[in-house]
């Protein structure tokens, strides 16, 4: 089965590393995976997004015409990307920063106040990992344990950062689980 998703937000929010960590985990689980960052002359505060495709067989195109999942970390991303989502797809929004209502009735909305949760944890920059934790719980694309293993290999030289990120992932993961 082929699943595609887009992570989008402000540059500096860590949307690319969300995609990269997920791709890493999917690879560790032996799946086919592509990670395609939107590439432009961007700066901190500009927009950033990446497309991840995960599949059991060879992935034809790394481009997503109609992704199954979209993660919008800020309002412009929510407004800009919700139209790309497949009918019946899941739209994850960082509800701490997104106020706009979704205009489509055929998609499911998952609201995660990722920025607020991260701030409460004392690490506002970890909002991306909170969201990735929630995303992993809801989509079940990769095992949570693999995600941690992947993170450990990318951040092996930065122990302190690793702990903070692990905690954020766990908090996000549990947040989604707590929902009815």
């Amino acid at each position: 089965m082929l699943v595609k998703m887009i992570f989008a937000g402000f540059g500096g929010q860590g949307v690319l590393s969300m995609g990269l960590n997920l791709a890493q985990a999917a690879m560790l689980e032996g799946k086919h995976v592509t990670y395609l960052p939107a590439y432009g002359a961007e700066m901190r505060g500009g927009t950033a997004n990446c497309t991840v495709a995960i599949s059991d067989e060879e992935i034809a195109s790394p481009v997503a015409s109609a992704p199954e999942f979209i993660v919008a970390m800020n309002q412009p991303s929510q407004v800009g990307f919700q139209h790309h989502l497949q009918s019946g797809g899941l739209l994850f929004v960082n509800s701490s920063l997104v106020e706009a209502k979704i205009v489509r009735g055929d998609i499911e909305l998952v609201e995660v106040p990722a920025s607020r949760i991260a701030e409460e944890m004392g690490n506002p920059r970890c909002a991306n990992m909170v969201m990735l934790g929630a995303f992993t719980k809801k989509t079940n694309l990769v095992c949570f344990a693999t995600l941690i293993t992947g993170l450990e290999s990318t951040l092996q030289s930065k122990k302190k950062l690793l702990e903070v990120n692990k905690e954020a992932l766990k908090t996000g993961y549990d947040f989604c689980g707590a929902e009815p």
């Binding site: 995976v33 990670y35 590439y39 195109s61 015409s65």
Partner: protein
């Protein structure tokens, strides 16, 4: 060796080092800077290897020229406008029959263009590119794994046929990450090329030159080049075909466009349309024979490129009237989606009245 997640640019860098690349000379340009960065980090640390960030593209390609004369495995990389600047040097490399690997992670054009993915350098790459009557081998990978594999092959081809080899990618291939496995270890020792200039040590002097005042001598040099080109055409032409055996419509696409086309073809197949794909891996030599053979089964072709029609000319030349060739292309760095190409493919399919599997 386990699979690792790498960007296309890094995969070329690692592939080159494992192919025994000893020198890299480059000048920065987006979207291939990660390759220069990779070489700066990894090649410069290796014993006996050299990384230089040159002061210009011209300087970089002439450093390549010098290193190749001295018999080492050498690579440079750039993106479209930078490759244009390197053409003079590439022509000299071709004339002197010197091996070198030149990576073009192409970007939008003409002029400075944009930094997004296009395939508008097909003509420049496959027709020599610089002045004079010559060709370079052109490899067109379509995945990160293939970038790694073809980089290795590029060095071997360059040495075997004493010819510059172009790896033609694009900004998307350079930036995207995929799992990669490397099948080669860095060679301990590479054979020294016969004609390399490394000091005469008592033997008679040798020359590497491109100028001769005798027209007949130049003609003989050109004949020898083209005899070798015929050999390369015979031995090294590579083409991937998928789902062609029962296809009524065959899409021809290369590089990243072939990936997008594969997505479209998968959709077409699930809708009962019998569509296949031919993907030239070597753009020069172009797989004319394979295209012609395919025409024995079906007359219907659709060429898809991210330019306004360059490879389509080679497809038409190969078919020589034996097939009906449609074309779909988009210029300027906008990346078409599989759904878009699927719509084009199905429109062509219905308009030509081809049969649908129910």
């Amino acid at each position: 060796m386990p699979r690792i997640l790498l960007s296309g640019n890094s995969a070329i860098g690692e592939g080159a080092i494992r192919a025994g690349c000893q020198c890299y000379f480059g000048y920065p340009i987006t979207p291939q800077n990660e390759l220069t960065e990779y070489m700066a980090t990894h090649l410069s640390r290796r014993k006996g290897c050299s990384f230089i960030q040159a002061e210009s593209e011209l300087s970089a390609i002439n450093m390549v020229y010098g290193a190749s004369v001295a018999g080492v495995r050498v690579m440079t990389s750039s993106s479209s406008p930078g490759i244009s600047l390197k053409q003079e040097g590439i022509s000299y490399l071709a004339a002197c029959q010197l091996p070198a690997v030149i990576v073009n992670m192409s970007r939008g054009g003409p002029g400075l263009g944009s930094i997004s993915a296009t395939q508008s350098d097909y003509f420049q790459s496959t027709r020599g590119g610089g002045h004079g009557d010559y060709r370079t081998i052109v490899l067109a990978p379509s995945s990160v794994q293939e970038l790694a594999d073809l980089t290795h092959r590029a060095f071997d081809l360059a040495d075997r046929y004493l010819i510059p080899v172009i790896i033609l990618g694009d900004s998307m291939l350079g930036q995207m990450m995929e799992p990669v496995e490397f099948h080669h270890e860095v060679p301990r020792r590479l054979p020294v090329r016969d004609q390399a200039l490394r000091g005469a040590h008592g033997r008679a002097s040798r020359f590497v030159k491109t100028f001769t005042s005798k027209p007949t001598e130049l003609e003989e040099i050109n004949w020898s080049l083209f005899r070798r080109y015929r050999l390369i055409e015979k031995k090294e032409t590579t083409c991937e075909s998928s789902l062609v055996d029962d296809a009524e419509l065959v899409v021809v696409a290369f590089g990243i466009a072939a990936r997008i086309a594969k997505g479209a073809i998968r959709k077409a197949r699930s809708n009962g349309l019998k569509v296949g794909l031919l993907r030239p891996v070597t753009l020069w030599p172009f797989p004319s024979e394979q295209v012609k053979k395919t025409a024995a089964r079906t007359k219907h072709f659709l060429v898809f490129e991210m330019n306004m029609g360059q490879m389509v000319e080679d497809v038409k030349l190969a078919l020589d009237g034996a097939g009906e060739v449609g074309f779909y292309g988009r210029p300027g760095g906008v990346i078409p989606t599989p759904s878009e190409v699927f719509r084009v493919v199905s429109r062509e399919y219905y308009q030509r009245g081809l049969s649908i599997e129910r």
